[in-house]
């Protein structure tokens, strides 16, 4: 029901708690970050207005550019892998009418566990001398690399561990999407003589594209903010080959005391996330099918 008459005024009671907190702890800081990005400030001396200085410096900052490239590399490896694996898992499990509680917990253990804890577990397993991964490899006569400390392997390891952690999450979203597709559609395809492969690509996948887009948008937004696994697993190394944007923000704000510069970086990160999200919704008409 819609509350009318004297009850109408209650809206403010309902909205106020959340809105107050949002304004004070989210909206105001966003505005402050915008102002801050035009200043140089180490928190000790008074802030100094530098105009676009921070952004100009950022454009020529090799360390930041490298971090941006590493972030994009991570995205390029992680997003397609986790989507494909999540989708395959969902298709395999879709046959069963309902996912049992146990299998839900099994697939969701990596998802619900803290990144820090999970990253430490993998750091130990990927230890070059005493790690279980290299021990298993040694059984088949392969000498495993120092996964997290070799240039060629560090980012690949970060991507692999991230895919392992998030596959269950992607799977559950796809399962929900698959559940919404009426069985008759697939059956009709089989009646027409399609094999399962054709039925998937001609019927299931097109009907699933709205969910695919949604998952893609969520994953892109999250993976631009990749940080914790890198911070623990490789600490940005070896030789800075896995530094990422958020890590640069943390270092500049914290270790170098460059508040304005860090704020400017966070706006660049937002600009990337925003434009990618807009582009994805723009181009959705090309491949997303709405309405079965």
């Amino acid at each position: 029901m819609i509350w009318l008459g004297s009850d109408r005024r209650w809206w403010i009671v309902f909205v106020a708690p959340s809105l107050t907190m949002l304004l004070v702890f989210t909206v105001a800081p966003i505005a402050a970050a915008a102002v801050l990005s035009f200043y140089r400030w180490d928190l000790l001396t008074s802030p100094e207005y530098v105009g676009l200085g921070n952004f100009i410096e950022l454009a020529g900052d090799d360390g930041f550019r490298a971090a941006l490239v590493h972030t994009l590399t991570f995205i390029a490896g992680y997003v397609p892998s986790v989507m494909v694996i999540g989708l395959v898992l969902a298709l395999l499990l879709n046959r069963r009418s309902r996912l049992s509680g146990v299998s839900r917990v099994v697939f969701f253990m990596p998802v619900v566990a803290a990144w820090v804890a999970v990253a430490l577990m993998w750091k130990w397993m990927l230890n070059s001398r005493f790690g279980v991964v290299n021990w298993v490899l040694s059984l088949v006569g392969v000498e495993g690399p120092a996964w997290l400390f070799e240039r060629g392997w560090a980012m690949a390891s970060v991507i692999g561990v991230s895919v392992w952690k998030d596959a269950g999450f992607v799977m559950i979203l796809f399962l929900a999407g698959l559940a919404a597709i009426p069985a008759e559609h697939r059956e009709a395809a089989f009646v027409d003589g399609a094999n399962p492969w054709q039925a998937f690509w001609r019927v299931t996948f097109p009907l699933l594209t709205p969910v695919v887009l949604l998952v893609l948008i969520i994953l892109m937004i999250n993976s631009f903010q990749v940080f914790e696994q890198v911070w623990i697993l490789t600490e940005g190394g070896p030789l800075g080959s896995t530094t990422v944007v958020v890590e640069r923000i943390v270092k500049n704000a914290f270790s170098f005391g460059r508040m304005g510069y860090a704020a400017a970086m966070s706006w660049v990160l937002f600009a990337f996330i925003f434009s990618v999200t807009v582009l994805q919704t723009r181009f959705q008409k090309r491949w997303v099918h709405y309405g079965a």
């Binding site: 819609i2 509350w3 949002l22 702890f25 509680g101 397993m125 279980v132 911070w231 996330i273």
Partner: protein
């Protein structure tokens, strides 16, 4: 999927002597709780568990309640600026948390709130996503449910608590578990404001444990096990109430 957890648990039962044994043992020959005992000695680990618990419980309860209230307010009242308000929530959802983190950190340090639990809690209370999810849910709630309560003379406040909020239990469970995971596992913000052992939460404590005891993997794994077990238990208990379909709907519209 589960092997890393099993392996870490097994490692946490090793002693420093058997830890680097080759070949590694999945089932420790002489399992010991030494690592857990030592953990309590080298770091105020109990304190961290308590901190994490307090922060998580308070954040989850406040997030669920404020989001449900606001979601209901937007869904069931017609007031000026309703659409603008919805846009404001939607807009903040697009801005990554990293943008707010530097000003928040400065603000907290000016207020002298660094290394306090409320510095960890307050910025997390409002959830745009939660407001959205609950609004969606209340939009499709049959109006007759509340009308019956209103006929009995209940106003909006009582109707919300006696009819609407109980009806939204699936939304509360789904959003609640997400909020719980995010709060319990949160690392970036606590890394900024909770560096002191008195206010440290588990993830930050773990990271610093790893920093100090680089090679004592049994110790580090014992800490990881302690950090991971509560979330898995909570998830296992609550998982049947979680609806991924709801999640999709909440994000999609």
């Amino acid at each position: 999927m589960v092997f890393p957890f099993v392996w870490s648990f097994s490692t946490s039962l090793q002693t420093t002597e058997t830890l680097l044994h080759v070949p590694p043992q999945l089932i420790p020959k002489s399992p010991s709780l030494d690592a857990y005992r030592e953990l309590m000695e080298v770091m105020p680990f109990a304190r961290m568990v308590i901190n994490s618990t307090i922060v998580t419980v308070v954040v989850v309860v406040l997030q669920v309640v404020t989001s449900a209230l606001a979601g209901y307010g937007i869904a069931r009242f017609r007031f000026r600026g309703r659409h603008a308000l919805l846009l404001l929530y939607l807009g903040t959802m697009m801005v990554p948390f990293q943008v707010t983190i530097v000003p928040l950190f400065i603000g907290m340090s000016r207020l002298g709130w660094l290394n306090t639990l409320h510095a960890l809690i307050l910025p997390m209370v409002a959830s745009a996503f939660g407001v959205f999810l609950f609004r969606q849910y209340f939009m499709q709630m049959p109006r007759e449910l509340e009308e019956a309560a209103a006929l009995d003379g209940a106003g909006p406040w009582r109707t919300f608590w006696s009819v609407a909020f109980p009806y939204a239990r699936p939304a509360a469970a789904t959003f609640g578990i997400l909020a719980f995971m995010a709060a319990w596992n949160s690392f970036l913000w606590p890394l900024f404001v909770a560096r002191d052992e008195s206010s440290m939460t588990l993830p930050v404590g773990l990271a610093s444990l790893h920093g100090r005891y680089q090679t004592d993997w049994n110790l580090v794994m014992a800490g990881s096990v302690i950090a991971v077990v509560p979330v898995i238990i909570v998830f296992a208990v609550i998982q049947r109430h979680i609806s991924a379909g709801l999640l999709l709907g909440g994000v999609a519209k």
